[in-house]
Subunit: 570 residues, 2 copies
């Protein structure tokens, strides 16, 4: 359809495809709620007014708003493929997401990003991407790729790429690492925004970070922190993920006058949360319940992120914008009842409509570069104390403690009686044969072992267990299935979820994924763990940017010193 | 200075160039007024905080805001060159303008636009341009150029070009004129905004206009009109020019929640007004006096236009943005006391500082393609009534009346006793020899003649007089000086202003321009006119888009019928 045709339609010369009548429209431009008819043709809004239409839908006084936008998330965190992710969040009213394929890029590099971009094609949803800025996350681990500015540059102009993803390497920015600055300058030359990730940055360092061109932040945890970043010119993404939840703390900062500087995001939100609590709809509803003006809450979910990312074709009801809509009955107890994409209903009452087809997801050809038969998990004792990772339940941080190992046959071994379990990270990308070995307290397994190829940020294989044999069985299984999560006991697979997409995502329907995830947690519990989600805890034990003691394929990492340390305290 | 250097400065590693202390900062991000120190280096903000600096300026509690932005104006309307325009508005706190060189483009085409763009170089002010979208304005007049999409395209990528200028040809948009749509699509491909000009557009036609990609409007005159455009997704520029004044009518629409959709502009503001009343500072002050929250008034003058035009480096105080500032003592009686550009003081107490150098302006080589000796102003009588342009004092619209001519020697002639004056438009661009001839009532000259090469939008030479001889003298003079405005009586030049820049702008200092403009008005008054500004009235009599009867080089124009009509009513 040409521009000429679209103009003629807006002029009312032809029958509109659809007219929504008797709706109460959330007008994100004027900040009002107005009773208007909405006309739609060829997937786009024609405007408000009395158009003749092929089809008329009576909204009977229900509210209608532009579709919701998640300003920053990692689809990989749901462990579902892109199509199943869409099936999870589209019925909740999310019509546009800005995804940062950081996890898959750590595994598969630019090919992983391209995989995600192509997976966005033909989806009944607008999926945009920021390019991962920090692959690998650190030099303290072996990732599947290293992406420099020159590697990202060919993707920066892609129409689905809307910016540079969260620049987690804030020391690199602030202390002018040329490889980091090159990425910023590369994206700046494309006039696309650069997202930040600067937890706790303040004063000079914050100014330096913004000076470098970082425009947003989704890591604020306190009002004070968010206020300084807001005042200094950053756009604030209020995050409400599975782990990190900042809505209640940051909401008091939002006023009608500064609200355009705010957006919602979920960052990492697990499938269970998406299915049980929802997505951006849940954030909007929570914010309204907490006292935020409903129209502002919706502006932060629509026009403001669209404006920030330069997506002038979504985020509002206006002639020429894409007709993506959510419909709901109650402003103060917001439950999305229907969702339209490009003027067609795609979901009702929380379910995708049967006629909505999702592209089939394909596995990513990703060999596990591991030779399990060569793995040696044994830890010869050295007659001195060992450093032990001490888990803080339900938090990403750990503590470090020093204690005597349990030794048998001159080997330091798992000792469930002391809740002292062996933990290993097996490098899976480059075939280095690297294994990091250590001990952890707080997992609580009495028997068996757990292993997973989801282990932030490099996603090597992490395994923990009450004995080496079960750990080996678990690792073997993960390698054999091309990635996944598994719980093993006495050589038997108790539960598992195969993740053939880069060892991060399943190709199965989300219900199956959820069932298997629940099964994995149940299995881990049956083996003795009392953690809320032992696999989630496990997946962050390899992340060497969160204090205090972590483990990667290069061994134990003292995060404070930002260097690897020996297991034994000599 | 490299990005690395700038980051290091923000980190506080080097002495800042300047620290402003004890200021009350208008924070346009958070919508607050905050006591903060502002550090500046190398022309850019480093941020808030306690920086060591080479120079410390104590603001002693005064207010400091980002420099003001005029979102849409025609510099030509001041009749001063760019440098003198800067001298007029910079001391008022205007640090950035978005100029539409529509007038000079009608005279000199793309070369005129290029002239303005190059005149912006080395100015102590940020001057950006929208490309004129409607040259010529109509087919009912002969302009100096015709600019199609292909003529504008080479300029669209210029860093000083930020969008397409006001699309006045809204019928062409709404009824899909392919040459018009080609311009829209051309600028859209550059991802730069397209400004509108759609007075009175509503309903289907408004929707069609927005559908075409028009993003803003500065022609709203009523609350109802502005409200519809706002709700439909347009950015609203509230205009307060010399002729059109919309601030008081539109201000009630602005709320904290919708304010980001608003900006200020002056469109056409004459030199006298700039000098006597001010520029954007006057709009901001007026709005505050009328009850608008001062911070919102300033946001509309800074961050919001900067965001709309994608000028991320101005419009706010934030690390890395250009250190353009205004300083004032009173929030509710705002008078700009000092102005900084790129961290250096450029004006104080309404005057440019002596050390601030403005580039010398040069005339534009613009032959007047007129052979005055061939001009024949005579109008042979045809023995019937004539159509007469009936002026409505101080308005751009005219009425049409029909009356008998005064005839002598078989010629219809000026008759000051009936206030029936001959008026002619002499084509000056293409040497066609076209003369439009007619009569006008309401100018009031008893003797002499007036002529000017400023006559919207094609800027041919317009002349009116009590007798043909003085009209000829006036036209001769305008031609001889390469353009200008002149008042003549009995063959003698009473007053004049040469406009050697395309017949539109002077190269003289603004004080001289103002004195000569005052002299011209005084001369016209001495010749009998009671109009507020007879030259301004004259300059709009050739604009065939404002009802009811106008005159161009092609003759009388019935604006309602949008066609030329004969002088005699046969």
């Amino acid at each position: 359809m040409t521009l000429s045709d679209r103009i003629r339609n807006a002029r009312g010369e032809a029958l509109a495809d659809l007219l929504l009548i008797n709706g109460r429209v959330i007008n994100v431009f004027s900040g009002e709620i107005i009773s208007e008819n909405i006309a739609i043709s060829d997937g786009n809004f024609l405007g408000f007014g009395h158009y003749e239409a092929k089809e008329v839908v009576d909204l009977a006084g229900r509210f209608v708003a532009p579709g919701f936008i998640d300003a920053h998330l990692h689809i990989e965190s749901t462990m579902t493929c892109v199509s199943e992710f869409v099936r999870a969040v589209l019925p909740r009213g999310t019509t546009t997401v800005i995804a940062d394929p950081h996890e898959i890029a750590n595994v598969a590099g630019a090919a992983g990003i391209e995989y995600m971009i192509s997976s966005a094609d033909a989806q009944p949803m607008n999926i945009y991407f920021t390019l991962p800025s920090c692959v690998p996350a650190t030099h303290l681990e072996t990732a599947g790729a290293s992406l420099l500015a020159k590697d990202l540059a060919p993707l920066a102009g892609h129409p689905r790429v809307v910016g540079l993803g969260e620049m987690m390497n804030y020391p690199g920015v602030i202390y002018e690492d040329p490889t980091v600055l090159a990425k910023l300058e590369m994206m700046r030359s494309h006039h696309k925004p650069i997202d930040g990730h600067g937890p706790g940055l303040t004063g000079y360092e914050l100014n330096a970070y913004i000076m470098a061109g970082i425009q947003s932040d989704h890591e604020c945890t306190s009002l004070k922190e968010a206020r300084e970043k807001l005042r200094s010119g950053m756009h604030i993404m209020i995050r409400e993920g599975t782990g990190a939840k900042n809505l209640k703390d940051l909401l008091p900062l939002v006023t009608p006058q500064n609200a355009p500087r705010f957006m919602w995001c979920t960052d990492d939100r697990h499938l269970q949360d998406l299915l049980d609590s929802g997505h951006i709809d849940a954030l909007v509803a929570d914010a309204i319940r907490a006292g935020l003006d409903p129209v502002i809450a919706i502006q932060m979910a629509t026009l403001y992120p669209a404006t920030y990312f330069g997506l002038g074709h979504v985020g509002a009801i206006s002639p020429g914008r894409q007709a993506d809509l959510v419909i709901f009955s109650h402003l103060h107890d917001l439950v999305v009842e229907a969702v339209y994409i490009q003027g067609r209903p795609v979901a009702e009452d929380g379910r995708l409509l049967p006629r909505v087809l999702l592209p089939e997801s394909r596995p990513i050809a990703q060999a596990m570069s591991v030779q399990p038969e060569r793995l040696d998990l044994s830890i010869p004792d050295r007659g001195c104390d060992i450093r032990v990772i001490d888990i803080v339940p339900d938090q990403l941080i750990t503590r470090q403690k020093t204690m005597a190992p349990t030794v048998r046959l001159k080997m330091a071994i798992s000792d469930p009686d002391r809740d002292l379990l062996k933990i290993v990270v097996v490098e899976r990308h480059q075939g280095t044969g690297n294994i990091g070995k250590g001990f952890v307290q707080g997992i609580g397994l009495q028997n068996g072992a757990l292993a997973a190829s989801v282990a932030h940020d490099s996603h090597n294989i992490i395994a923990v267990g009450a004995n080496d044999q079960d750990m080996m069985t678990a690792i073997y299984r993960v390698v054999k299935t091309g990635g996944g999560m598994v719980a093993v006991c006495n050589g038997e697979i108790l539960a598992e979820l195969a993740l053939p997409i880069a060892g991060l995502m399943s190709t199965e329907p989300l219900e199956a994924v959820r069932r298997k995830l629940d099964g994995l947690i149940a299995a881990a519990r049956s083996l003795g763990s009392n953690l809320h989600d032992p696999f989630m805890t496990l997946s962050f034990l390899a992340l060497p940017v969160i204090p205090e003691l972590k483990i990667t394929d290069k061994g134990l990492i003292d995060v404070g010193a930002f260097e690897s340390v020996g297991l034994f305290v000599d």
